[in-house]
Every structure is written in C-alpha cells, then in structure tokens.
Symmetry: D2
Subunit: 487 residues, 4 copies
C-alpha cells in the first residue's frame, strides 16, 4: 500500500476522500435525500434545539452514501462531533463523502478501497487525537469497529501478560491478517490504547444482522466491553430496510451492472430471511421464475406458500440465470457450482460479507480467467467449458457495489433508529440502564420511528377509543403489540 | 330454547349433530383432507404406536369442520378419548360432525346454533360423566371452555363465601347472560363442580389470538388455573393459518355468499395484522384496490410499503365496496358507517368475535330492515336512504359462516401444533415444566411442524455443513433462529 | 329418458325448471345482480322507452344463471319475447331459472340435465308455436342452436333430395347421436321445418370462442344461413369475460368443489389464451407455482415473460397438483396422463366443451372406479396404482358446474354486447348491412360498452382536447384506436 | 453549432462518435448482449451463409445502443453495408457507437447531441456518397429519416414548380426549423437529391408507434413514396418491447436518475396502452400505489380490473410522487400541473417524443429555475411556491436518457422483426408484393420470431396432433391464431 496521507479542510478538519470537488454534487443529492428522510429531519426538529449530543465524539463505520450523509448531519445537528469510514470497500458514494468532508465531519472513505486502505480508514475514524483518544460512542455496521477494539484489547492483555504480539502470519484470512498488523503496530506504539478507548465508550449501536450476531456471541461469552443497541432488530429496521430496501436495490444493482432482462429468467435466491424475501419478491415482480434455497423449514414453507419453488443449489445450478446469496452464512456458491452454470449466468451477493461466494476458489482456479467489463462487473470464463459467469462487485454487497444501495426513505427508518439509539446510550450513560449487553429499542420508540414516516406517504392513522384500548388491553397511544409480535 | 336431548350411537357414545346420515359424505371429505394434512398423518405414524394419550380425556371447542375431524382422529389415534363442540354457532360442517359422531368422538355441534344451544353444546363437551367429571385437557379456540371453567370457579368461590349466585340480569351482553345462567344452574346442582374440573386439568392449548389475549390477561392477574400453551403464536400457526388461511378463505367466503366481482372494486380492510395482511393480499390479487385502516404505525407503514393506501374508515366509508374487519378489537364498523355506505356494499368480519361489526346497532335501528338472501347473507336496507348493505354471517367469522373455513393444508400446520402441545402438556404433567402460565412451543418443535409439511409440496431443504453451522452458531439440525426472529 | 312435459305458468307461458318455488330467492339474487350490471341497466334506460325489440321473438341458449336472467329481462324490457335454454347441462342456477320462468320468459333449463334432456330443452327453446314457427333472432353460446338449425337444414335438403333420413347410429359421438335423432324426428313430422326457421332468422349473436370458430368455418364454406355477430371478439368481451371472469371463477370453482389449498401447490394450465391467462394469474395470485402448456410460440413467450414455466404436459404430469384445461381444443388431458398423476390431483376444464379431458377414456378404463364426493366432484381411483384423481364437473365447465360462473359485473360487459348485437341485427335487418357472414361490433360500440361500466367503479376519464385529437388523428369522442389494436 | 467534421477509420469508413477509445468496452458489452439476443444470432446462422443483403445499403435511425449494435452487425453479417444515426439526442451509448464505428458500420451518434447535431447526424446517415446517393432501405424509429426524405421531396417539387425554398422562419417548432434549413441547403446544392434518394428506396421498416402513425397518415393521403413495414405492430414487438421492455426500464431509469424509493409512493401513469401497462405494472410491483389517466374507456376498464385507480391528472396532481407520460400524444403534463405538484415530485416521459411534458412552458416561466443535479436529472424550482419538480431527460425518453433502454432480450424480439422486415423488403423488391403502403409482417413470421426466443428461456412447446390441428382448423405448425387475435 502506498502511504496514505490525511488531508485537512480549510477549517482544519481531517479527511481522505476521492475528490473534494464533487462536494457540490453531493450536497445537491443530500438535499434531495433530506426530503425523502422524514424521520431524520423530524429528529433534527425535535431534538436539535436542546443539543443533547453536544460535544459527543461519535465514530461511525457505515456505508458512506448520500443517506448516511443525512444521518451524519443529523448527529451533528444534535451537537455531536463525527468521524466516519465506510464499512465496505465498494459502497462509498464519492460525492457524498466529499460533501460531508467539506461541510460536516471527518470522513475517510472512497469507492474501491483496497483492504489495507479500508482498515487504514477504519483506524483513522477511531483516532480522535494525537494522544490516542477514542470516540464516546460508535455507530457500527457489520461490527468492524467493535471488532477492532475488542481484538485490540484482547491482544493488549495478552501482550501485557506474556509479551506476545499479534502474528499476522497466524491466519490465512487476508483481511484478518491486516487487522492483526494494525493492532500489532498500535501495541508497539501504545500498549494501552485500545483499553483506554474501550473504557471511554458509552456504547455502540449496530446496524445489521451480521454485526448483531457477533455482539450476541460476545455477550454470551461475557466479552462485550460496552453496551450495545441492536438496531437491526427494531421492526422498523429489519422488516423495512432488509426487506423493502433489498426489494428495491437488488434489481437496481442487476440493471446497472448487467442490463440483463429479468423477465423470463430463472432467479435463484439463496436464503429466505428478510433480505431473501425482498430479493425473491423483486425478481418475481420483474417477471422471473424464482427458486429459493433454504436450511430452515419454516422459512422454506413461507417461500412455497408465496409460490416459490424450494430446491437445493445443486438441483438448479445448471439452469438458473441469476444467483443471489442472502444467507449471512459462508460458502454458499462455490467454484464447483459456478463451473456448472450456464454461460453468462449472473452471480452476486447481497449479504453483508463477501464469503458467501467463493471468490477465493475462482481466483485460485487455474482455468478461470477474469475480464472486467466495467468496475464491479467481471466475467470469469472457465477454459474447460468455454462458459463464463458474470460476478458482481467481487462478491461483496452488490447493491452498494453496483448501485447506490437502499433508497433514502427506507434508510430514514433505519437511521432514525440509529439516532434514537445514540441518544439512549448517551442520555442513559452511567444510569445503569444499559449494561455490557445487547439491547433492542423498546417498542414505543420503534412505533415512533414508524409514525415519523407516515405523513410523507399520506397515511392517516386510526385512533383507538378508550373503550377499544381497554378491550384489547393496550394504552390508547401504544405500544400496540406484545414484545413477541412478529409483524 | 326447546329442550335438547343427547343422542347415542349404537356403541353408546353421546352426540348431538344435525343429521347422522351425512356421515358417509363426511367420511369421504375427511379422507380427502387426510391427503392434504401431512403433519397430522405423520403424527399418527410417529406417535400412534406408543399410544401416549392412552385413555386421556380431551375436551375440544373448535370449529367442527372436516379439518378438525382429522385433528380429532389424530388425537384418538394417539389413544385419547374426545368430546367436542364448535367454538362458533355457524362454523360447523354438519357432514364432518356426523362422521366423527358416528366413528370417533362425542360431538355436540351443528351449523346455525342459537347462543343457548351453543352453550348447551359447550357444557356437554366438558361433561365426562354423571358425577360431573371433567376433561384431562382442553383444546380451545377463542377460550370459551377456559372461560366457562374460570368463571364457574370464581362463581363457586363467591357462592361458598357469601351465598351469592351468578345473576344473569346483571349484564346486558346477551351471550354472557347465558354463561351466567349455565353456571348458576351448575352451582345449584353441584357447588364444587367447576373447581373439581379445574383441579383435574393438565392444561389447555389455545388456538387463536383472541383466546391467547384472554390467557395472558389471566396470567397477569394470577387467575390462570392450569398451564396453557399458546398455539397461536407458533410461527407455523400465526404466520400460516392467520395469513395464508385468510388469503384463501376471504375470497372464498365472499364468492360463496355474494358472487360479487372483486376485480375493480374498492376493498377496505380494517386491521393489518396477520389476518389483515392475508385479506388485503387476497383482495389485491383478485384485482381490487385496497384501503387499509390501522392504529399501529408500524403495521400502517408495512401496508403502505405493499402499495396499500392507509386511511381511516371515515375517509373511505362512502366509496368502499367490500369492508372486512380483522382487528380482534370491537366497535369497528358501526351503524353510522353502514348508513353512509354505497348501495349493496358488502360488510363482513373475519376476526374471532362478532363485535367488530355493530349488529346490535343494526338490529335496534328502526329504519333498518333485514332481508335474508340466503343463509348467512342478509341485506339490510335503510329506509332513510333506500340503500342497503349486505352483511355476511351476521357479523361472525365469514369464512366459516359463508364458506368452509381454512383449507386442510394450512390447518394441518395449526393442528399439528395442537397435537404436539397436547402431548407436551400430558407428558410433562407433574414434572413442573409447565406452571400456571402461558407458554409457546419451543422453536425446534415449531420447525418440526414446518418440516412435516414440506415433502407434500416437493420442497428440498438445504443442509448446513458443520462449518457453516459453527459459523452462524446454530446446531446443524436447528433450531436455526433466535427466539425474537420475526420471519 | 322419461317423457318430459312442458309446464305452464298461471299466465300461460311455457317452462320446465327444477322448482318454481325458488323464484323468490332467484328474484332477490337478480336484484342484487342488477346493481352489479350497469351496462344492462343503462341499456334498459336508454333503449327501453322506444321498445326497439317490440314483439321480436328471441331464442337464447346460454347458461341460465342469475346474470343471464338480467340479460333476458333487458331484452324483454326492450320489447322482446324470449324463450331460453342453457348451453351446458350443469350450468343452470335453478333459482334464477325459476324467477325468469315465473316472471319474464319461457325457460327450459335445470342444473344436471342429461344429454337427452339438454337437447329436448334446446328444441323447446326454438319452438315458437304449434306450426313449427322459429325465432326471429338467436342468442347463442357455443353455437348449439345454430348447429341444430344448420344440421336440420342440411338433413332436410338431403331428405328432399334422396329420402335419406339422419342416422344416429352413424356416429360414435354420444351427443351428436342425439342431435341426429332430434332432427330425424323433426323431419318425419315436418320436412321443411328447419328451412322455414332458418329463413325467418335475422341473425345470431354468438357469445364464445368455440361458437365463433364454428361460425367462421361455416362462413368460409358458405354454409352460413343468416348473419352472425361475433360478440366474443368484442374487446369488452374477450379481454374481460374470458380473462377477468376466469381469474375470478376458477379459484371459486376449485374452492367450492374441493376446498383444496391453492397456495404452495403446482398448478398446470393447458393453454395461455385469454382464458388461460386468467387462470394462470388466479393460481399464481393464490400462491401456487404455475406451469403453462402451449402450442403457440407467441403465447408461450408471453407466459414466460410473466414468470410462468412453459413445459409439455408429459413433463409435469407427475408433480402437478391442479390441472386446468383452457385450450378450446380436444384431447388435452388423456387417460394415460391421469394414471400418472399424484394421488388426489385435481383435474378440471374451463373451456367450453368437455372433450378437453378424456372422460370417455376414464369411463371405459376397467381399472378406474368413480366415487362421487358430492355433485360435480368425483374421485376416480386407478386400481393399478391405488392413486386417484379428483375430476370436476365431469370435465365440463368447472366454473359453472362447481360454482356460479362469472360474476355479474364482467358478464354485464359481455351481455351489453349481446344486447347491442341483437339491436343491430334487428334494426338493420333487410338493409343489407349484414350479409350471411360473421361480423364484429364496430369499435365505437365496443368503447360504449366499456364506458357504461366505468361510473360504477368510480373511474374518471380524461377528455382529449381538439388539438390533441387532431395530433393523434382520432375524433375527440373516439373511437380511439385502429382496428388492429390489441389492448 | 460549431462545424462538425466527419472522421474516418484506418480502413476509411466514416464516423462521428464521442470517443473511439471506448470501442473495447463497447465490444465486451456487445458480446454479452449477443448471448441475450437469440433471435438475432439465429438469424445470422440461418441467413448469413447465403448473404441475402449482399451489398445492400441500409440507413438506420434508431437509438445507438449496445442492442442496436447487435442488430447492425446482424445486418452486416447478412451482407449489408450500414450507415447509422440515433433517433434521440440522449439515447446513444457511446461505447456501443465506438465499437460499431471501429468494427462494422458508419456511425454518427453520441449521447447529448444538440438538435442541430442530431439532424447533421441524420443527414450523414443518408448520405451514401459524394454524388448524393441514398440508401437502398431504411430502418427507422419514430420516422425521422422517412420524414426528412418526404419533406425533402415535397420541398423539391415546390421549388421546381415555383422556385419557393423552405422557410425555416415559417415555423415556431424549433426542431422543424432545423429540418427546413437542412432541406433548404440541400436543394440549393442539388434540387433533385431527395427525389433521387426516394426513388431508389425499396422500403422502410419502422420500429415504433409514433412512426407508424405517421406512415398510416401518409398512406391515407397517398403521399407515401415507398413500401413500409410496420414492425411495431408485430405481436412480438408491441406486446413485448413496449410492455415488458418498459416494465423493466422505467424503474431502471427512475433509480439511476433519482434513487427514489418507489415503494409507498403514489405513481401516476398517463396512458394505459402497452407502454402504460408496462409502466403501471412496474410501479405497482415495486410497491407504489398507481393511478392511471386514460381517454379510452376500454383501456380505462382494463386498468381498473387490474386494481388501478383511474382519475384525471387534475384530480391527483397534488399528491402524486412520480408522474410518467406514455401517451404518444402531446401536452399531457403542463406547466400548470407541475406548479401544483409536491416538492420533488418526479416528472418523466417514456413516450417517443418530448412534447408530452411542457418543457417549453417550464423554460419560458420566469419563476422557474433549473438546477442540474446530474446529466438528465434537473430540478426545477418555482419561486412562487418554493417547491420544485425533478424532471428527467428534459422530457425525452427517460429510459434511454437516464438508463440504457430496454434490455437485450426483449430488443432481440423487436430487432429480429426488423431483420425479417428488411429481408422481405429486399427480397420482394420489384415483385409487386409490397406497394407504397404500410404492411404488417405475416403471422407465421411473427410466430417464428417468438419461437427463436424460447430455447434460451427453457421453454418446451407442445405439438398439435393432426387431429387436434384439424379440430381447431389450423396447420400443425401454425399460424395458430386468426389475424384479429389480440393476445
């Protein structure tokens, strides 16, 4: 990696983006997005005057898009100072990054980072000063900032105990090797840094299923170092962003990357969780025949009730036209599958991590040759068959790599949860309400997030009478459902 | 009410049905249903040989349909003795009742009971002998058997305390007046009967949202007298029966009752829970434009994301063509609404109780005149406007009153949960596993119910590898999701 | 056949129906249907005062349903005298027949006629007096009245030429044998009857694809004896009744006959014309996976663009759950197919004639045994496999045999075309406008039919400005499209 | 306009494109498109060896996209020489133009032409040599080449008659002014040029509704100078490209231009022809509530049967979120409408010409200010309200201006019709089969186009038996439908 240098705005704020001159374009798109993000704008109105996050240092690691820009500026409107990186090497919108860098926060992100650059950006985002100070709170997506700090603390403790430094060569996972290098260098400079950082953190609010799984695992093993709010499992997040966001952004990404006609094709969707449901619906609505693969019999039964055929990948790999992984698991579409596919079958992933598709297998297969059609759209040809597959975004989140991610409106639901979570964590710091555990926002806040988004869509809610509320045993103003309600 | 007399089969089993000669027809439909109810048939295969319910006395109060017949005969195949009544005055399929009465269990049910007859049947179902013996377990739907026993116990205790007998004239609710009369007469015969019954009961498994709400209220107030399993909130019940069942049976009932063309019409669905989601989807799929009314902002936002307009009933009452209540609440469509509706607007309810539609208001309105087109299809004309509305099933469950209810396959999911719940309650009686509380079946049993229904639909599940299972931190064979997962 | 006798009303009008006492019930349903049939009611208003069909004798052969009753009474409201029979042995709604017989027209129809009874009814409908007088005009559906008259004329001419009488034993087609017997007896009584009848007829308006095909064949061979208006190919008929009518009535018939859950099943729709499109959409919307069979590559390509798989019946016969024939062709689902089907696969036809399904093969197969579940729902078991199929309506139109056919609103579109066609034929008789050929109604009348149905559905049409009309070169008030436009 | 100069390849072929260095990228996308265009590739295989278009000079005016590149190279594979321009100033894909210019044909097209440049390109495309020679045949889309030649001939005749030259100042339509200038200059150079060109032309095949309307008008007024094949009204064109193409490309264009979330929004589709049907379906499928505006009562009734509300634009202009014009008419969304719209309502056109939306009104309104967000995405703010609308592609075809147009597969259907039409016109030149009239391809060729596209989608067609074919009176191999069949 060529040495990266932090730049500074005229006002002295640090940043590293692709091209600051795109800031005006970014600002225009941010302004348009604001009209589509009523929850965030309402939060500015409601909370802004009291400045509840006055001076709070927030580090965010979340796709640096136009929508995220509106989130960042909502946090700053509430008084926060913000440093930001993207949580995916392909997902930054450079004009949005430029606008934020120029106007609002310290941004370290560009579309098409290398893995080394990615972790450099992540480290910049948590570095709040030459003395190694860290953030007061974290906004995380996938959990990489949380991971870095937790791994850092573990390594420091081991180092303190027996002088062992992290050994990058101990792992074959390319990305984790970089994490270990980063920590190793940090320890050599300041062997207490991550522990100081962790101690100062009031909490993290985590955006996505993958990161949440990591948090629950840490909670179970009592390794969690600060409170966490699981934003992903707010109903107004997982049943909206994951479902309706993907229903929108999967075809968007497919069209931008390949222009392939979806109608008449066979789409194969691996996984029928919220993301899979959105993807399957999108392909069906576009005129494809959709086959679902599932491990969970309940989700499989849901799929079949919606008219989808449920098969294993082995059954349909030879006649599928478009393959999408949505599982959150690993090793879903392997080299052996891709070799058997039709010529120019499209293969892509919309799950958080890139290990659903066997890119490693492709890259190490001697008979596979890559041609880049355009950025994020590669054709891999197998010399043994002469056929090729079209792989999107190198197996990373195709909707962000090949498109612009989820649209503003649905992100407003998710991000209003983030704002509320940050407010909760900060306001309740030191009150004992949040321990070193994982929490979901209470239902009345979830309902509030929804309510903030209804007027924009012309919705008129019905009001319960006192008698009706008593009859079904809920408050007149909600919450309206028991905790276990599934929506 | 004319005196009702219990009849007996040649073998001496009690019953009261419309026409025993329909038993052959009932049997044929039961046999066809068996092919569509793989979960129940698999339960017979798996558990039948061991006779785990040998001699157990089960009282059921649940729509006496063909599908319920297969449930009853699954319980008897596992060794149980069964007495049954319907939980709705219109929902019995007389041929199914006849077949069961002749072949398998004591049945007290017919289509078109009066309220007095309904409660007579209910009391017959819990009467297991001249000594006032009650059942070992209850299968309940809406909770009327549970209610009767709990109210009975309360009344007996009050009577023992101060000699007060229940006073039917103390209530204006016609149905509750009958309940009080029933209990009053029981106390005068045997002032300990309901307490003896309650003490003997190992538990109840409750089928539906409405009954579950009652149970949780009793749990909260510590009044619950025996353990309860909430079958409704098994995923394989509420997300299938409530949703896909209603998606099927709403148009079925509408067509049988009115033959009205749904395409091109404006459908108004009050409530967007699981039942409302199924109803709205059905009307949309049939070509209607659908308007949803909701109190809950989250459900409202879901509706609008699916393309439905969300308004209040007041907004659309004048141009809606078909109105369906699905709320589980009361006082949804009132007289004042019906007077404003278009001529021949169809008004119906698919929620458990009949108080969603203001039948009382209609009946007491001097200017409203009823003409019965055919059973369960009445036209009410308002002399002040000359317009009329078509009211289905007198405001009771229209899919059971005007049609045959949910189809076998989806009821197999629900009823397999019932069988498993009954097995749990019985097998674990006295082990302390189930207290006087409300329980949901564990996820692995929920997943098992789903799995039993997949082969019939040609589904091929994917198997996790050990590595994948470890990666997402679940057992290879499930359960695959955390408890809070919403599907 | 037991001798059938014509009955007479108090007023002396002839009829033969199942049960005249159902007339009140029929009347109520007719009144409800009137609200749903705005085109017919508007025709009464517009044309009634001038009595354009004053004294005209119209014979109709068209499913004697509630909707047809509104058609008949529209014709009588315009002054016509009407005699009517059904065009299908299972399609009569007996209460509708009773109401019409009592109040409006001579009806000869009941649900469940034998073939002999069917043709007896048909002959009654064309018999306008003891002198053998026939009708002035015909409303036909499938062309049986037209066929009878044309075959009659041919036979009379042959008889006149060489004394040959029709020989019923010359054909193996059971139904045609009865036609020949009927004509034979007629010739023996009056060897000029059919020729006299034909000469008097001003024209026929034909309802359906099948009848239209027959008419065009007769036109091509110059055998057509009077003008014919092809109502089927009015856009407001074929693209509405055939498509949206079947989308409604296929699931209706399936549910009434079998209560089978459609969701999750594999539906196989043979033929993807207008009827097939409606059926495939209905099954898909109900949650089935749908496979289409087609001979026409264009229709096949349409099917696949809508997400349907297109296979041959051989490919999918073993895993389909519900099979529907819509082809208008013969020999679609044969015995050999049914033997291979899953146990309790549902087999039905929604095309005009019953020869799409091999009932003959079933009946003659020694190892096939029929059990009637209920009228129009038979289970045929094959002893060689132990499996059975459920055959609806003996292979005849299942939506009319097992349900009540298409709903009123869409039939109002079709039947308003019929009324306009009858008016055209009568008004223009003798003007030379209509020769012995097949005609389609002009587009402005087609558009008028549509326009009459819009206010009921709340539609507000946009008006062209003069400039816009000139720009696209159409009159301001239409017609708006060229003749070849496909909609 | 700065003077434009024709460039030449090393081989001497003329061209004018944006950037020839994009040819490699264009070539890769062309190769991917070939896999998706089975009809064109099959045409190369079937006809290529005989070189039926050997040496034929073809001028094309049709969006210069990747798909068109495959059409051009199919024509050259059959022996033709080709000169090409785009038929829309925004629709060229520059990399496709580069690849064709380098490898196959003379191309004059780039994305973002001025109107002057557009007509310069058009004139280059018809100029086959210094002696003013014209093409042998035309491929036209919208009819601009045909218009130029017909207007040229008219002007030459007038000039010959009385020396009058075309007067650009005689029209206020900016574009027609340029046409007149072009012709004026041509006459001054060579007053017989357009007549010579016209005389030499064997025919034109026209792609789209708009161009076809012009042709029929010329046929009616006997002004047509050469035979025309109406490709638009092949079923495999208008019911596929117009419908399924737009269903795909409308959301694609919306997403690329605005990233707006479609779900939950109110979409207003002006016109419910094939294009409108595709657009309405796309918005509905994406979760929008859709309102249709229509002038034709039949199309309006179709819309309402599909669940769409039908209103006038005036009714819904204030609450619509996304407005799409599809009418083929003019003056649909006017300034007065746009002023009343919600802030950031999206306004776009997918019809052929840009006069559906009142750009002229916007540009001349003093209080309207334009901000360009990015190319083809402008925000127009009205100072009197502070609200703005987002106008796509300056009112031109938004799917080509903001996206990449229709996907390859559906264009393969359309373009295979073009190839067959060109073959017909050339093979039958001088045989008298085609007069100076407008023709539609015969049904067997239409069916052939469909058939060529089925294998790619895994379709298996059913074959008629001889008996079945006889029964429905069609040849075993088709054509299967009468000419008036609507599909």
């Amino acid at each position: 990696m060529a040495a990266l240098t932090v730049e500074k705005t005229a006002g002295g704020r640090e940043y590293k983006v692709k091209d600051l001159s795109q800031a005006d374009f970014g600002r225009m798109e941010i302004e348009i997005a604001e009209v589509e993000m009523p929850g965030l704008m309402a939060s500015r109105e409601e909370f802004g005057p009291k400045q509840p996050l006055k001076g709070v240092k927030i580090t965010g690691s979340l796709h640096m898009t136009v929508q995220t820009a509106v989130l960042i500026e909502t946090l700053t409107a509430l008084g926060a100072q913000v440093r930001w990186c993207s949580c995916n090497i392909f997902s930054t919108q450079d004009h949005a990054a430029a606008a934020i860098a120029r106007d609002s926060a310290a941004v370290f992100a560009w579309k098409g980072e290398t893995l080394e650059e990615y972790w450099w950006c992540t480290e910049r985002a948590i570095d709040w000063g030459s003395d190694g100070a860290g953030p007061d709170m974290i906004v995380d997506d996938g959990g990489d900032v949380t991971l870095l700090i937790h791994e850092g603390v573990k390594a420091e403790e081991l180092y303190e105990k027996n002088g062992t430094l992290p050994d990058p060569s101990s792992t074959t996972v390319a990305e984790f090797r970089i994490v270990l290098s980063t920590i190793r260098e940090s320890i050599m400079k300041n062997p207490r840094r991550f522990r100081d950082i962790a101690k100062n953190i009031s909490g993290v609010s985590e955006e996505t299923t993958t990161g949440v799984k990591r948090l629950y695992a840490m909670e179970r093993s009592s390794e969690l170092l600060f409170p966490a709010i699981n934003v992903n499992d707010s109903v107004t997040k997982c049943k909206f962003d994951n479902l309706y966001g993907c229903r929108h952004s999967l075809p968007d990404g497919l069209m931008r990357a390949t222009d392939v006609m979806i109608a008449g094709k066979v789409g194969v969707v691996c996984g029928y969780g919220d993301v899979g449901k959105g993807c399957a619906a999108a392909l069906k609505n576009a005129g494809a025949r959709v086959i679902v693969t599932e491990i969970d019999p309940i989700c499989a039964l849901q799929a079949v009730m919606e008219g989808f055929q449920v098969l294993t990948l082995e059954d349909c790999v030879e006649y599928g036209d478009i393959f999408v992984t949505t599982t959150g698991n690993k090793d879903i579409i392997m080299l052996k599958h891709m070799i058997r596919m039709k010529n120019n079958a499209v293969v892509c992933n919309i799950g958080h991590f890139d290990n659903e598709i066997d890119l490693v297998g492709l890259e190490s297969h001697p008979a596979a040759k890559k041609t880049t059609i355009k950025p994020q759209t590669d054709r891999w040809v197998f010399s043994e068959t002469g056929r090729g597959v079209i792989l999107l975004a190198e197996g990373r989140l195709m909707n962000l790599g090949c498109g612009t991610g989820h649209p503003s409106f649905v992100m407003s639901c998710s991000f209003t949860n983030q704002v509320i979570a940050q407010l909760e964590l900060w306001t309740e710091r030191g009150t004992g309400k949040y321990q070193k555990k994982v929490y979901v926002l209470p239902k009345h806040l979830d309902e509030k997030v929804a309510a903030l988004h209804l007027p924009k869509l012309g919705v008129k809610l019905t009001k319960l009478t006192e008698e009706q509320a008593a009859y079904i045993n809920v408050p007149v103003d909600g919450p309206f459902k028991p905790a276990h309600y599934r929506y």
